[in-house]
């Protein structure tokens, strides 16, 4: 089985632009979570989706939004990019919602976003 795949791997955007990041979970996994990892810090929770519904939201501004599709893939959208949005964006998937917290998520390799 393929792991969690994220695209693109790297991208550079200008302040004020919009960006869409994509994530494909492991086959059979219905839960997808998004995390932001700024250089030198631990990942920070952004969103969690399960069965296409938002199940959790971290402390991020409304410029950040996400959705999950019927095939359980997910998009993270960020509007009006700021320099501070430069980070590694990680996607994690799990088969079930409850079991995810008990048995650990599977993370993708991330998308490195640079805002200039």
């Amino acid at each position: 089985d393929a792991g969690v795949t994220q695209s693109p791997t790297h991208l550079i955007k200008t302040r004020g632009q919009h960006v869409t990041l994509r994530c494909s979970p492991i086959s059979g996994h219905k839960s997808v979570s998004w995390y932001q990892q700024v250089l030198g810090q631990g990942p920070q929770f952004i969103f969690q989706y399960y069965e296409k519904e938002e199940r959790g939201r971290g402390n991020f501004p409304d410029r950040f939004s996400a959705r999950q599709f019927p095939n359980y893939s997910s998009e993270l959208n960020v509007n009006a990019l700021l320099l501070g949005d430069s980070a590694l964006y990680l996607c994690a998937s799990s088969r079930l919602l409850q079991r995810a917290s008990n048995y650990g998520y599977t993370f993708g390799s991330g998308t490195r976003l640079t805002v200039v």
Binding site: S33, G42, F45, Q48
Partner: protein, 116 residues
Amino acid sequence: AQSVAQPEDQVNVAEGNPLTVKCTYSVSGNPYLFWYVQYPNRGLQFLLKYITGDNLVKGSYGFEAEFNKSQTSFHLKKPSALVSDSALYFCAVRDANSNSGYALNFGKGTSLLVTP
């Protein structure tokens, strides 16, 4: 909020020596604790978890962690370090905030350097 702290930014150890990476936690109720490892330009890899049961938890790649309730600690250990263990290590706790689903709160990370 549930949180973890990793007091060391970097740990240096010689190959073949035992290693310890420290983590302390602050939670209300029973803690759900995790260790992840991150190699350069990669996502997070799950090492081990503590939910309930034995205080000594065994995980991947020969790592283990000791849960100590009286000291609110969950230190990661390995009896004999390898150069290939050099990476960034994150301790995490499941958030109990109802708005965050089953999100993980991560520490800031500890860089482990194993020298030959």
